[in-house]
């Protein structure tokens, strides 16, 4: 895993105005680029250390994804001392992500945090005095991305994955026990049963992969929360933003009251936006659940949008809300300016972005969108980077698990004995385990002994 495979990642931090670079390094970098990059010159004829203009085309559909500038750099005079390709994309974060996904689908592996630097070091490119810096980088990046991963794994994704993983482990254990304990009176699993079970598992995995594509399961990009006292216009703002901007998915959980979430896209930045019904002390148990959740969402949010009524300025109830969000990255909106004669500016907190708005008159919406975009590209709203990359990695692993299960089913179709099927089934479980961070072999052994009665 550490050396010779080809790795890829988005290698620029955001803040470069929608331009992003995807870097590919390794033996297969040129082959991968040749398959997806179309320009006047054939890829193989492009000289090393030059930049070419062209298009990134998905070879399976023929669809053009982005117009790009591509740098081709032959080893050893590259950052990593391996063959390197850099693709400069212009289409914003969503396009950047699609190009990265395509590169991964063509055979690259998503780079671990700090891995380019590590390769550069291991290949003798970087001075030894930088060793410690590299170690620090790896440690901090790992901590960061695992935090991001854990956050995403809460909730539905993790639930679905653990169900699938459990099915796979049970299946492997059934096969292994059949193989390792041939004379015990356990019910031996047959190839037909294995194939049926695989059919069930693969359809679950496909559902999961599809929901990834729809952006439903996991949150991507920025997570923003709208807060404010009742009737200040939170729902109207949400409607305005999601109506005007293409909503990717609308998801209204039926069980939790008072929270509405939308997935929207502002200038190419995916945003999950939530409307809380208001944070205030309450004795109503049902409502309290909603309020608790609102507070949790605020804690997890990358950005808080607080709405005030321009007619009243900052009231006591607003101050209570403000105190809960004052440590967050935030934008304050003064709504209903069309109804207010005069705004009491003195009551507003200092040093905070304030946008004057009238949803009724359509004033201030664009300003808000620009402010969000600005914060994002300035890198002031962080964490979306890691989350995004983690998502790409998860999707790739799920796709690989699907492929492995397909291979196992092909083995069945081709009349291979059951032991051959286990090779691919184990691979599938390994891929899922890489998302959840669990290893397979120990679990299988444990499962065998807890489920089957064996012994002399």
């Amino acid at each position: 895993m550490f050396e010779s495979d080809t790795i890829a990642a988005i290698s620029t931090p955001h803040g470069t105005g929608g331009i992003g670079i995807i870097r590919i390094s390794g033996d297969e970098a040129f082959d991968i680029a040749a398959r997806i990059f179309k320009s006047r010159k054939k890829f193989n004829d492009i000289k090393s250390h030059t930049i070419s203009y062209g298009k990134i085309v998905d070879p399976s559909t023929g669809e053009t994804i982005d117009e790009v500038l591509l740098s081709k750099m032959e080893k050893p005079n590259t950052f990593t001392r391996e063959d390197v390709v850099e693709i400069n994309c212009h289409g914003g974060i969503v396009v950047l992500k699609r190009v990265l996904e395509l590169v991964l689908a063509e055979g690259a592996r998503l780079a671990e945090p700090g891995e380019f630097t590590k390769r550069a070091f291991l290949n003798g490119r970087i001075d030894l005095s930088q060793a410690e810096a590299v170690i620090d980088l790896i440690n901090s990046k790992n901590a960061e991305s695992s935090k991001a991963a854990v956050r995403q794994l809460e909730g539905r994704l993790s639930e679905k994955l653990s169900v699938i993983r459990k099915l796979l482990i049970e299946l492997i254990a059934s096969i292994e026990v059949t193989v390792d304990y041939p004379e015990h009176d356990i019910e031996e699993i047959t190839a037909v049963q294995i194939n049926e079970e695989l059919g069930k598992i693969i359809s679950k995995l496909r559902d999961l992969a599809r929901s990834f594509e729809r952006g439903k399961v996991i949150r991507e990009g920025i997570s923003a929360v709208i807060v404010g006292k009742p009737n200040v216009g939170k729902s109207s703002l949400l409607n305005e933003l999601s109506g005007k901007n293409r909503a990717i998915v609308t998801d209204i959980p039926g069980t939790t009251r008072d929270i509405i979430e939308e997935y929207i896209n502002i200038n190419g930045i995916p945003i999950r936006i939530l409307d809380t019904a208001g944070i205030r002390e309450t004795k109503d148990v049902v409502e309290k659940i909603g309020v608790d959740r609102a507070q949790r969402e605020i804690e997890n949010a990358d950005l808080v949008i607080m709405m005030l009524d321009a007619r009243t300025g900052m009231e006591e109830s607003d101050t209570a809300i403000y105190n809960k969000i004052k440590d967050k990255k935030k934008i304050i909106i003064l709504n209903k300016i069309d109804l207010a004669d005069k705004v009491d500016e003195d009551s507003l907190p200092e040093g905070v972005n304030i946008i004057k708005m009238s949803l009724k008159e359509g004033i201030g919406i664009e300003q808000l969108e620009d402010e969000i975009t600005n914060l994002f590209f300035k890198g002031e709203i962080i964490s979306n980077d890691e989350v995004l990359l983690t998502n790409v990695r998860h999707k790739q692993l799920i796709d690989m698990a699907i492929k492995s299960i397909n291979d196992a089913r092909n083995a069945y179709e081709n009349g291979m004995p059951i032991d051959m099927m286990t090779i691919d089934i184990k691979n599938a479980a390994e891929y899922i385990g890489q998302i959840t961070g669990e290893s397979v072999s120990e679990d299988v052994v444990h499962e065998i002994f807890s489920r089957f009665c064996l012994g002399k």
């Binding site: 895993m1 550490f2 050396e3 010779s4 671990e112 700090g114 590590k118 070091f121 291991l122 030894l128 060793a131 410690e132 590299v134 170690i135 620090d136 790896i138 440690n139 790992n142 292994e176 059949t178 193989v179 390792d180 304990y181 041939p182 004379e183 015990h184 009176d185 081709n414 009349g415 291979m416 004995p417 059951i418 032991d419 051959m420 090779i423 072999s441 299988v444 052994v445 065998i448 002994f449 009665c453 064996l454 012994g455 002399k456």
Partner: protein, 627 residues
Amino acid sequence: MEYLAGEYDVIVVGAGHAGCEAALAAARLGCKTIVFAINLDSIANMPCNPNIGGTAKGQLVREIDALGGEMGKNADKTFIQSKILNSAKGPAVFSLRAQVDRRRYQIEMKKTLESQENLHVRQSEVVDLIVEEGNRVAGVKTNTGAIYKSKTVVITTGTYLRGKIIIGDFSYSGGPDGLFPANKLSDSLRENGIELLRFKTGTPARINRRSVDFSKMVEQPGDERIVPFSFETETIEKEQVSCWLTYTNSETHRIIRENLHRSPLYSGVIEGVGARYCPSIEDKIVRFADKESHQVFVEPMGLDTNEMYLQGLSTSLPEDVQIEMIRTVPGLENAEIMRSAYAIEYDCIDPTQLKNSLECRKLQGLFFAGQVNGTSGYEEAAAQGLIAGINAARKVKGLEPLVLSRSDAYIGVLIDDLVTKGTNEPYRMMTSRAEYRLLLRQDNADLRLTPIGYKIGLISEERYAKFLAKKERIEKEIERLKKTTIAPSEKVNSFLRARNSTEIKTGIKLVELLRRPEISYDDLGEIDPDRPELTFAEAEQVAISVKYEGYIKRQMQQVEQFKKLENRKIPENIDYSSIQGLRIEARQKLDKVRPESVGQASRISGVSPADISVLLIYLEHYKEKEK
């Protein structure tokens, strides 16, 4: 009264399955060797099941043989029933298993030891290690005061160290099968800084054949075609005896349940850790309460005895309960117990104290092998014994130790698991523990390991020449199948029709036809008249290589990846506490196990991929500094 009794290159303490292999290997490699047993009539004893091989274990025996060990040959000489298990489940899991005449096995092995040049066989209890300069073993002392000096010592004490036999509420200090325990050596090990664990295992009762009603049982005969364990044994023809299958019932389970309070497992008398895969019958009934019956295999202990082994009824319940319980089983209503079932507790070592060579890190020249390393099973023991014996001899000669990797052999998986992960229960080999099991098949053990055995010096020139000829015949035949085209003809197509296989319209390579699951290599002979004469083993090798080529190639690619980290060696004197960026848990784990390669380090639980990155970077740095 102490006296100097002799000087040796290699001393082996214990003559069970590990000790025999260790002693033979060392002596055959030219070392002056002595092997001790508490009782010479207990050499190569099988105190539990009278069989050798089975899933994963059969592979181990084949590997031992391919390297030049003795177990396979001895089993071939003395088995009384032979069977291939899993014949339909895939070539990686085909496993040979033989019922063995226990007494004849011992006699044969003892004779082999006695006849071995350079080897001295001695009855005595070793009670002390002799250590020089605090870090180097220099010999042993026996209970009679005899001092034997040596350059290396291999400890293969099995279940004898502070052995304790438990039958219900009755217990005594003792070794297996009514033999004496070794009560003093544990203290000597502990005094020298070796950490000990306490494990437990057990065995069922033996009954008299005359008291069994076989008409109520299902006969389990051997296979018609006998496959030998040893690659050197060409063919075997012999009468085989049967085993018998019967089942426990609700009455058996009632008796056990009502007497659970008298089981030492549940009353707390037993402190040792038992294995999950080897539960006693009371354990099975408690843990799998909804199961209405359990299998009992009745197996002959040999041809010269009426003793029969009751596989499935291992127990530590009191004797009276044993009798009552056994007699509820169909066919065993009048069973006469000859030896009671018992549990045995014993000292073993924490195997993470060993290097991959099985040499102990604390004391140079001291090796451990077999059950004393926390394993279970005769085959696991013999495999370690062979490696420890080879490495003790290589140490004497100043050579690099032999270390097999996880991609070379089950033996490699076994030792790597033990020294890297340790074990908290007696460790049994299973095919599911080998990640590259499609490559580690029993049929190709010689192709994998005989060149290594030859290089080390345990394989004779004659055997090696035969091996090379076999290898060449296999390769040539695969080449021929790839080159030879079969033209469509009525004969060919009717052959295909008869096997429900798609008919051909144009010429096709033989190899393509053989890849079809419905066509075997044997079958193919019908339309392939020019094929060379191959032995069964050679034909099997050809067929497996062709039919599963795709999978085999994939595993070989995985092995290539795996080897990259295995080949990154870690210097022996590395100071983990000085590596910045390693988490504290990782530092402690790495320092305890002291892995020999980055690959091994990555298998230690508690060491994360980030830790491995840090380690890799440190090693590069270190390499530069060394320059």
